[in-house]
């Protein structure tokens, strides 16, 4: 018997809780249950046999926590524990009443949270799961269960798919708010896992069968895969630790869930063979109802699903093409700049963000990984990964958390052959451009035929139709006046005749014309009327987002014009602290009162008449000095200081743009490395220091948090940096700070080191070999000034 054959059975029965059974046999809460595989195998064989006798078709081997991280303290290798676990289960099957029962390699969460919330990287998680998958190759099926992080589960599924041929079952743990602890939505789970090609999906643990009914109902709507349900026996009592649902009640409640279309049943914490026996009896009285659901065209992040059932805006701003400031940020590795663009577009109304970081001279693949990881860490909208290089797309697709869109494939044979298999493997949506070896067809029919060819090829690879989006390409109307109508007609035909969703970048249309936005937004409206689903635009341009909002009202998507009214119905409140007439606000006032927008505007005005360096040295720096002094004297407190620094930062951004446009090099007062030391993830103090130092004109190389010792050394040496700032917030990570300092000293790096953080004292700073102790962000600026004036006047 194998899993696929077993699926022909009407219902499939799994086993029940393992922890509960082991505790009844003397295991203490908090001990490593997997060690028993080697120490007391007979206990496990007996438990497995009880479950098979109760009717289980599949038993889970006792391997849930048998990973490198969790076994570290018990002295056994992953390989030994997992093999023993599978062997015990196989022996139980062979000695049982049902020698056809299957054995699952059971794998739970690693026990460490992944970046960006935790410190474990996606790649490390993959390695940990790979080891378990390889050790468990004698199982009949791999089960990933009790997962709460879709990202961790994706690493697990890839590790299984790439290192094993066994079928894969995935169950996640949802709370009553229909989300996992990490915020994963049920729809996102279903779309992502079905895309990755697993064999069954479902829900286990957390709650009892009554509470999980709505979760099961929602999941069944989003998938046509077999659905698994393995609830707890209710909730445990905190005093007695007894669960509150009886076996009979459990089976009865599960009976109500059967009509939803669930096929695979079992029990989790608090259940025992009695529960499985009752489940078995109940299922014998039921009929399986296979319900086929239409799965809509959609992409998703882990927490947000965007269904393409109305116009959805793809934000175009994360792209260096034609943007000097963006290029500079890419070269400097300034990920915060990219994040700023991401957040701004989402606030502006983007539903999806395009991410393109292609620039000659940088490692696009590595930058794509950094950008995707960082952007998905701060915004919840799905991403469209955009590159002309397939290797870059693979990197983005691996580390993306959810179901992304790939931008793009085209009708060229080479493109079809390289890009579409990636789209299939990673379960993405894909944008197909209507061009091929012969360029962009000048006729509607030509473009339609390429769209058709892309669709047919996608279907032949098993990519579902709803995952294929077509871009009929916008040409410049001032160069070819017919081109606009050809594009629009192609959009209409692709939408109506092929039934595909459509994508279009619209801004090209007005190239070379004055007042471009007039032409562009009217073209956008026409395209929407012809069936455009996903315009690629800058959502912060009022006329563009306005065109989409108006279309949504006129075409009935925006019911009762609620969204339109929410956007335009009430004037936004003016910033609260502006009590003086506008014309009286100068840069000093803006900085002191935390007026960001005004600060930037005034700086722009000033730059028309004033030398940028004069603006920095004569206005910005003195204003910052003043707020710094007020902070030291206790006149203002931390949020006010940082608010002022934020205004100044906005002014510097304007000046940087000015430099980028005029081609002038900005003047740096000196380079400073900042890092939160290895093992520490408290980033906020270091980031405050960064803002202040940048305001004083220092170039900050921010290595981030949890930074390995060598990374600090390498950056200092490679970039010839003379001041290194280290931050640590925990007594447990001070040792890392000391080691980082040691490494810098051993390698005779010509630099001063300043340290800071809540648990540090001046004495301790001296003891571990730091040159300076900074009690707060303000003091770190004073130290920087001293260091560069006294020791390294050349910067």
């Amino acid at each position: 018997m194998d899993f696929k054959t077993l699926l022909n059975k009407e219902f499939i029965l799994l086993d029940g809780g393992m922890g509960t059974m082991l505790q009844a046999r003397g295991l203490k809460m908090g001990e490593t249950p997997e060690a028993l595989n080697l120490e007391k195998p007979q206990i496990l064989i007996d438990i497995h046999k009880e479950y098979i006798a109760a009717g289980a078709d599949i038993i889970y081997a006792n391997t849930f926590g048998a990973n490198r991280y969790k076994l570290e303290h018990c002295g056994y290798s992953v390989d030994r524990v997992v093999r023993a676990g599978i062997l015990n289960a196989k022996r139980a099957v062979s000695e049982s009443v049902n020698p056809e029962a299957l054995v699952a390699l059971d794998i739970g969460p690693i026990g460490q949270l992944l970046e960006p919330t935790g410190t474990l990287t996606f790649e490390e998680a993959y390695g940990i799961y790979k080891e378990q998958v390889e050790a468990g190759k004698d199982a009949d099926v791999i089960v990933f269960e009790t997962m709460t992080d879709l990202y961790e589960l994706k690493a697990a599924v890839l590790a299984a798919k790439e290192n094993s041929d066994l079928p894969i079952v995935c169950t996640m743990t949802f709370e009553e708010n229909m989300r996992t602890f990490t915020g994963c939505a049920i729809s996102s789970m279903a779309l992502t896992l079905e895309g990755l090609g697993v064999d069954a999906i479902g829900v286990n643990c957390s709650l009892g069968p009554a509470e999980l009914y709505p979760v099961a109902e929602e999941l069944c709507k989003w998938t046509n895969l077999p659905v698994v349900l393995k609830p707890n026996a209710g909730l445990p009592d905190p005093v007695t630790n007894e669960y509150n649902v009886s076996p009979k009640m459990f089976a009865e409640l599960m009976g109500k869930i059967v009509p939803l279309g669930v096929k695979i049943f079992g029990g989790c914490c608090g259940t025992n063979p009695e529960f499985i026996k009752e489940l078995n009896l109940m299922l014998k009285t039921q009929k399986f109802r296979e319900i086929k659901h239409e799965i809509p065209a959609a992409c998703c992040s882990a927490s947000k699903t965007v269904v393409i059932n109305r116009p959805r805006i793809i934000g175009e701003r994360i792209n260096p093409t034609g943007k000097k400031r963006f290029k500079e940020a890419l070269i400097a590795g300034d990920i915060d700049y990219i994040l700023g663009q991401a957040i701004e577009q989402v606030r502006g109304g983007a539903d999806i963000l395009d991410v393109n970081v292609g620039l000659p001279g940088i490692d696009e693949g590595e930058m794509m990984i950094r950008a995707v990881k960082a952007v998905q860490g701060v915004v919840d909208v799905p991403l469209q990964v955009d590159s002309t290089i397939p290797e870059v797309l693979v990197k983005a697709l691996r580390v993306y958390n959810g179901k992304p869109i790939v931008n793009s494939v085209n009708g060229e044979e080479k493109s079809l052959q390289t890009v579409l298999p990636l789209v299939k493997k990673y379960g993405a949506c894909v944008v197909g451009l209507t061009l091929d070896e012969n360029g962009i067809p000048k006729t509607v029919e030509g473009r339609f035929q390429i769209a058709k060819r892309i669709l047919e090829r996608a279907l032949s690879l098993g990519i579902p139709k709803e995952n294929v989006f077509i871009d009929c390409l916008t040409l410049t109307v001032s160069a070819e006046q017919d081109a606009a109508m050809i594009t629009l007609e192609a959009v209409r035909r692709v939408k109506t005749e092929l039934g595909l969703r459509t994508v279009l970048g619209v801004s090209n249309i007005s190239f070379g014309l004055p007042e471009r936005v007039i032409v562009t937004h009217n073209f956008l409206t026409m395209a929407l009327a012809n069936g455009l689903d996903m315009p690629i635009i800058n959502p912060n341009v009022a006329d563009m987002i306005g065109a989409v909002r108006a279309f949504n009202v006129l075409s009935g998507y925006d019911k009762n014009s609620l969204e339109y009214v929410a956007a335009y119905g009430t004037k936004k409140d003016a910033p609260v602290s502006v009590n003086v007439p506008k014309q009286d606000i100068d840069l000093n006032y803006a900085i002191e009162n935390g007026l960001k927008a005004e600060g930037a505007k005034i700086t722009e005005e000033l730059l028309k008449t004033t030398d940028p360096m004069a603006v920095i040295n004569e206005i910005l720096i003195p204003a910052l000095d003043k707020t710094g002094a007020e902070f030291e004297s206790g006149k203002i407190f931390l949020p006010q200081l940082i608010l002022s620094a934020g205004v100044a930062q906005g002014c510097f951004e304007v000046i940087k743009n000015h430099f980028a446009k005029t081609g002038a090099k900005s003047v740096s007062k000196g380079k400073i490395i900042l890092a939160t030391v290895k093992g520490d993830i408290h980033d906020i103090g270091k980031n405050i220091v960064k803002v202040l130092l940048e305001n004083y004109g220092y170039e900050v190389i921010d290595l981030g948090k949890d930074v390995p010792y060598e990374a600090v050394l390498n950056a200092a040496v490679e970039q010839n940096v003379h001041l290194v700032g280290l931050s640590a917030l925990m007594t447990t990570t001070l040792a890392s700070m000391e080691k980082t300092i040691q490494l810098l000293r051993e390698n005779n790096v010509d630099c001063k080191i300043m340290v800071g953080g809540a648990v540090l004292t001046p004495e301790y700073a001296e003891q571990i070999g730091a040159d300076f102790y900074a009690k707060d962000a303000k003091e770190s600026c004073d130290i920087a000034k001293r260091v560069f004036e006294e020791f390294y006047p050349q910067g």
């Binding site: 203490k28 809460m29 908090g30 969460p109 026990g111 460490q112 949270l113 960006p116 919330t117 935790g118 410190t119 009790t146 709460t148 743990t173 709370e175 708010n177 989300r179 602890f181 990490t182 915020g183 957390s206 905190p238 005093v239 630790n241 914490c269 915060d336 994040l339 700023g340 957040i343 860490g377 701060v378 915004v379 910033p575 609260v576 602290s577 935390g594 206790g634 407190f637 931390l638 949020p639 006010q640 940082i642 608010l643 620094a645 934020g646 093992g679 520490d680 993830i681 408290h682 906020i684 980031n687 405050i688 925990m730 007594t731 447990t732 990570t733 890392s736 809540a758 648990v759 540090l760």
Partner: protein, 223 residues
Amino acid sequence: MVLEKLNRAEAFRYMGHKGGDIPTNIEALANECEERLLKNSAPKFVWRVFDIEKTAEGVLVKDTPLVLKGRSIASHLRVCEKCALIAATLGAGADTVIRGYESGEMEKAVVADCLASAAIEQVCDLAEAEIQSALSGTHFTWRFSPGYGDLPLDIQSDFLNVLNAQKRIGLTVTENLILVPRKSVTAVIGLSAQEIPKGRRGCATCNLRDTCNFRKSGKHCGG
């Protein structure tokens, strides 16, 4: 569980506010940050009662591998025969809110960070209230967390395992003993059938007493 309002006064104190009115623009920041935090955090706690046994090695939490070591916890539990272990978290969503602000709006990051610190204390208060109402007639000590006094942080991993805290509330600890999600707390409350004499509480038993910013400015955290 839902928090409806955050303890602003406490949060402003964490931000270093030393009295007087809060400027209106900072109040406005706090309004925005509080709204986002409340919307994106998912406060949760789990607790369980255990018998304890006092030995030379430390206070044993019975039927678990957990040993509470050090003089300060022994003193804290000296008249207790049981204890409640609590783990509480705001969830990863709160971290995401703060991280989002950090890439360009540091002032909001600081305000949200301090509001979230106040929020997790409020969650612990709710957990404590639930314990008190579930065990009426019992006397309780105040909450004592790993890292206070000489109770070592390195019990965090066992502490979480004993409560099955990853499965129950999604709480983990890193190799460097940092709780993740970040805005999380573990704590021990002593339970006793008899009245508990008011113990020493405050800076004397705190291991941050030499470096604490409140103390440096002549104040205390109120813990």
